[in-house]
């Protein structure tokens, strides 16, 4: 999915309330998803399609459910005992909440990058090698070495750390740590990478580097990014979804959402009336 394709969809004309159906193969499809935290209805009747090899941004005010939905996609919500999910989320047409599906296998195909960089208190090398090791993706040391190097290269960190792979990952700067976490995520060759406000703890220069990286990664991965910054959403994403109070208000090509939103709430939010 490219920018051109999205614009093409727009120009083709579409009079449905949602701007346009995405072109190209659909990677993730959600239908009537509801999430409850105990009694709290955190996400209400959510439908969305996420196209392959593109960047999708989730925006919206705090507590609107965007992070919650993100964590549904790799079933991180399973670790919260009071959380309950209904509806259907499919990846490659496979229902990820199907009881027969193995969550460990699922997460091996979906990488995740968190708000705060959370490198393991191990060496840089071990941080990246962790996933390949537990999933048995490599048999020999040299294979792992190769994966570590290519992951770090893809994450744009190789040149900075190649001489100190044995040093602790926690000793890197914030931006480096976050890129290390991205390298760690792509080391297991996922199809999808979820990013939960990956730049909120970073300074502008580190942010720019991570955004550049996201742009490069989209040719191989389907990326979903939750962000508070509308400029960031506009910079990195091809499609944007606006969440408000647990509902998906509006979803469409990023430039359309930011220039001519259909919904008043979207308009209010992007023009800074609330949020």
């Amino acid at each position: 999915m490219t920018m051109e394709a999205a614009t093409a969809t727009l120009t083709a004309g579409n009079d449905r309330p949602v701007h346009s159906a995405p072109q190209g193969p659909i990677k993730i499809q959600a239908r009537d998803v509801n999430v409850y935290y105990g009694d709290k209805h955190a996400i209400k009747h959510l439908d969305v399609d996420i196209p392959q090899h593109s960047v999708m941004a989730f925006i919206g005010p705090s507590g609107c459910g965007k992070s919650t939905f993100l964590r549904c996609i790799n079933r991180m919500n399973d670790t919260i005992p009071i959380c309950r999910v209904t509806g259907k989320i499919e990846i490659d047409r496979r229902d990820i909440y199907d009881p027969s599906l193995d969550v460990v296998q699922l997460r091996a195909h979906i990488g995740m990058v968190f708000q705060k960089p959370n490198p393991f208190p191990k060496s840089i090398y071990d941080n990246v090698a962790y996933g390949p090791k537990i999933h048995g993706l490599a048999r020999t040391k040299s294979e792992i070495d190769a994966i570590v190097e290519s992951s770090l290269r893809k994450a744009g960190l190789w040149e900075e750390v190649k001489d100190r792979l044995a040093e602790s990952g926690t000793g890197l700067s914030g931006g480096q740590q976050q890129r290390l976490c991205i390298a760690r995520a792509i080391a297991v060759s996922p199809d999808v990478i979820l990013m939960d406000e990956p730049c909120s703890a970073l300074d502008p220069i580190a942010t720019a580097k991570v955004e550049e990286l996201i742009d490069e990664l989209k040719s191989n991965y389907t990326i979903i990014i939750v962000t508070h910054s509308m400029q960031q959403a506009a910079r990195v994403s091809q499609r944007t979804a606006f969440f408000h109070l647990g509902t998906l208000v509006e979803e469409g090509p990023t430039d359309v959402i930011f220039s001519t939103p259909k919904d008043k709430r979207t308009n209010d939010y992007i023009t800074g009336r609330f949020g």
Binding site: R16, A21, P25, D47, D92, H135
Partner: protein, 577 residues
């Protein structure tokens, strides 16, 4: 949005995954097996701890619960004036010092006129506890008019007799006689003849034993022969073995019973005979209770009793068993709650020993501990948390407190011995000194708990008070401290529970002496509950084992109540700011 379709190629990674799906699947299975294994390690670890606790409680309770009851001989005792008050003046002093145990013993002896032997008469009387005199004395002193009459009283039995009735001495197998039994007499040594092979099964066991002994002797002979002993020695062993083997081979040869084998008693015609020698159908024995007649006993009207523990392995002889069973069959044995356990001090006689002295000692000690360590602990906590400047002195105090909390308790005992007893010449074995040592021992615990409680009070409370012009001390004592009080009390109770269960330092300062009297002041010689437990656990008498466990039960109940109080306080006053 609904009419979407998959048209693009499958993603590269997915394709790769399909190719290596088998390997991946295998790997996943392996990982899940490891996961399950790991989880089971945890379950096993937890179960192990819980099983240990269960075993501990079950064994302590099984051992200790019987000690809460005691067997009494309920008997009509003639309060003969000539033995209680020979002078007839009814003087209290004379009445108080009369030989009541003798009176009780006489009454018991009168119940067994057949016991004439001097040694047996002594043994009979010793079935009663030395404490049997107490109910008699109480009766006479309370009611001097009863002298000369007969009183029905419950007299405590000796520890061994008590244990016998609790089943701790021997098991008894009863088998009804199958044949017609003919006794040769009614008293003395008599022989018994049955029309069926009543004793053969026991005889087989005995003979088998003999054969085993013969085999051992032969083996021993072979051993010393090869190691170069003289021929005479070897020959002697061989000869002994041959004799034994001969006894085994003779199928119907009579064998003697000795006190290393289970005892066999025959109850027939109202009497009891202890068998000394048995054959398949005949036996000889000594009459312990006279028979009413020497007439033939029909099958089923008589029985063979086997006391499974050999006589030499128990503290209650066959005769005593017979006497006790006779008393029991007359309904004169009663099992009662053992109040004496809570009202008496320590004693060398297990059936008289109680924990009142120890509980009082613990109580006195805890009062001292409480009175010292709560004010000191709370004030130290207030200072450190509220007033102490951040400097190296405060740092040293803090490190110090943390270290003191982890110093072995026996070291506090050394401190008490060297400083309190030796330097300040304080009295040994006194609850006051014990309380002093315990106060130092639990002080760190209380300071740490109190500091946590004070820290938990939010600064806004303090600032509010300062805002209306209170001094820092007023803010702390009027506002912060009352709010921290529940937390401090919880910590205090836990500290006191710790002090109640602590033993080692008290041994150092002499609270380990054998003390019969219940202490009445802080400087009396005293012992405490855990030390009492330790003292009793060291005694060889079986009855003290049960007493030890019973004292442990009491201690655990106290601790349980104290910890329950702490939990209640915590729940009741828990406040989230």
């Amino acid at each position: 949005m609904t009419d979407m379709s998959f048209q693009g190629p499958a993603p590269a990674v997915a394709r790769q995954a399909t190719e290596s799906a088998d390997i991946f699947k295998k790997r996943i299975q392996q990982r899940y097996r490891a996961e399950t294994r790991f989880k089971w390690y945890g379950i096993i670890a937890i179960s192990f701890s819980i099983a240990f606790i269960a075993l501990l409680f079950v064994s302590i309770f099984a051992t200790g619960l019987p000690a809460f009851t005691q067997h009494f001989l309920v008997m009509d005792v003639p309060l003969k004036a000539e033995s209680i008050d020979p002078s007839g003046k009814r003087e209290l002093k004379e009445l108080a010092s009369a030989d009541y145990f003798g009176v009780a013993g006489e009454a018991l002896r009168d119940k067994f006129p057949e016991v004439t032997n001097r040694r047996d008469r002594t043994r009979l009387v010793q079935l009663l506890s030395n404490g049997a005199a107490d109910p008699l004395r109480a009766k006479v002193l309370g009611e001097p008019g009863s002298i000369g009459s007969t009183a029905k009283l419950g007299l405590p039995l000796s520890a061994n007799a008590d244990i016998y009735f609790k089943g701790g001495v021997t098991g008894i197998d009863k088998i009804a006689g199958r044949g017609v039994l003919t006794p040769s007499g009614t008293t003395g040594d008599i022989s018994l003849t049955s029309s069926s092979n009543e004793f053969s099964s026991r005889l087989v066991v005995i003979k088998r034993d003999i054969a085993e002994r013969a085999r051992q002797l032969r083996r021993e002979a072979d051993r010393i022969e090869s190691s170069g002993a003289t021929a005479a020695q070897v020959q002697q062993l061989r000869e002994e073995a041959r004799v034994l083997q001969g006894r085994f081979d003779a199928v119907s040869g009579a064998e003697a019973l000795d006190d290393r084998m289970p005892s066999m008693l025959v109850a027939v015609n109202g009497g009891i005979i202890k068998l000394t020698r048995i054959d398949n159908a005949t036996a000889t024995g000594e009459v312990l209770r006279p028979l009413s007649s020497a007439s033939e006993a029909r099958p089923g009207s008589w029985e063979v009793l086997t006391l499974t523990t050999p006589e030499s392995n128990r503290k209650v002889t066959d005769k005593e068993v017979v006497w006790l069973e006779a008393l029991k069959s007359q309904g004169q044995i009663e099992r009662r709650f053992n109040w004496g356990f809570f009202t008496a001090g320590d004693s060398r006689e297990p059936e008289l020993a109680g924990i009142r002295g120890a509980i009082t000692g613990s109580f006195l000690m805890l009062i001292v501990t409480l009175a010292l360590c709560v004010p000191i602990g709370v004030m130290a906590a207030i200072y450190l948390e509220e007033f102490a400047p951040k400097n190296w002195i405060t740092d040293i105090i803090e490190v110090n407190i943390n270290n003191l909390a982890a110093v072995p308790s026996i070291v506090f005992g050394l401190l008490g011995l060297a400083v309190f007893l030796n330097f300040f010449n304080m009295p040994r074995s006194a609850p006051f000194v014990g309380g002093l040592v315990m106060a130092l021992l639990v002080l760190p615990t209380i300071i740490i708990a109190a500091r946590a409680a004070i820290k938990a009070v939010p600064p806004s409370i303090r600032e509010g008070a300062l805002g209306v012009g209170a001094s820092h001390q007023q803010a702390v004592f009027h506002h912060v401290l009352p709010l921290a009080m529940p937390g401090i009390m919880t910590g205090t109770i836990i500290g006191m529970a710790h002090a109640l269960g602590e033993t080692a330092p008290l041994l150092m300062i002499g609270m380990i002496a054998f003390i019969v009297d219940v202490p009445t002041s802080f400087t009396d010689a005293a012992t405490v509950l855990p030390v009492q437990i330790y003292l009793w656990s060291d005694l060889p008498e079986l009855a003290f084992k049960a007493k030890t466990a019973a004292a442990i039960i009491v201690l655990l109940v106290f601790l349980f109540v104290m910890n329950g109080m702490a939990i209640y306080l915590r729940k009741r006053f828990e406040r989230r700011w």
